[in-house]
Subunit: 210 residues, 2 copies
Amino acid sequence: MGLPHGGRLMARRSDHSREEIKTMAIQAAHQIVEREGLVALTTRKVANAIGYTVGTLYHVFQNQDELIVHVNAATLDDLYKQLSESATHCRKPESCVLILGHEYVRFAYQHRNLWSSVFEHSLPAGDETPEWFRARVTKLFGLIEAALENITGNQRIDTQLASNALWSGVHGICVLGITGKLEHADEKNINVLVDSLIRNYLAGLSAPKK
Amino acid sequence: MGLPHGGRLMARRSDHSREEIKTMAIQAAHQIVEREGLVALTTRKVANAIGYTVGTLYHVFQNQDELIVHVNAATLDDLYKQLSESATHCRKPESCVLILGHEYVRFAYQHRNLWSSVFEHSLPAGDETPEWFRARVTKLFGLIEAALENITGNQRIDTQLASNALWSGVHGICVLGITGKLEHADEKNINVLVDSLIRNYLAGLSAPKK
DNA sequence: AACACAATTAAACATCGTTCAATATAAAAT
DNA sequence: ATTTTATATTGAACGATGTTTAATTGTGTT
């Protein structure tokens, strides 16, 4: 089966280290998901792309799920990079959060397959999401927290609670938008919804309580 | 050629009509998803549960996706029923929305597998979500719209926009909570987030614009 | 040069969604 | 009644999937 690649006879033992193979597999899987979506990701396709057979994949990963989690973690890294760079040129907290929101929508629509993969995939019952993955999520929420910390309300607010609520909300809009559960869900209209959510939520935070 | 049309049934085996088989299959699939999750749903399992073979399923449904969409539609019907009954004993708009939010969380946690199925599943690229399915989603958003219509702000608000934004937000909190992407995501903490989102968003809507 | 050990493969397994020729059976025609 | 017609249903097959495993192949060590 495993066709030789690049004129090589066979992949020999010391061609690549364990770590190299791991990296290659993740990158190959990343490309496949990006181009064809998570449903199109198969172990054989990944193995073929890096010039090995499935057995080698299972020698490096426990199973397909572990590979997917790594792909998704890489996507979260890309997302963090794009978001953190976007919010450097803003002054008012509201502007920062709005920029972050729009940039999040932009990423979701631009890398639809990769972004969807992060939330489509879930580990089999019993397996817990590894902490290094959740750390990435926390780091992302941290961006919002940072932007919210300078909010000038007339009372202290719990920034972690607020960033969780607000950002989950923005995420929810993207989810329903991209999966076609909302009507007229193009990027422009989605941004209108995100705007509404952020503006009013922040206004509510700053408003005097009843 | 004596082409029969009208009320004539042609059930060969006369055990069940086409429609009966359809209903039986949907109910069986519903049970499987409820108990074991969408990943555990197989055509053979469904066929076996209703005493037929897979071939018959494909004689009644175009493919597995079509069956799943029907299961999910039934779930949306259940959800609508639970939500619409819950919001009958409230006066102030905010109370109604809060009740709807909490009830939504309750349904998601109580029927985790069914609820997840609605959003995990997506049709293959090219297939569009049938309009009778989207109608169910619209109907659900209608519940929020109705509750928002009595909001007393100092300026008119676009209730459809607001209900889309707010409810997508509540949904997003549930998604991240149930899929374990948030820390300490038990039902109680999720409700705190939902509370924060709804209260502040509504406060923002009613607040005077700067 | 021979050995031991890890990496890698090829093949197999069970299961999946889906298709299709063959069969069974009810209704219509004779 | 008997034959004809049409279709509901089956059962087996197909290709693809994730995963496992016995057998090899290559490398480092003695």
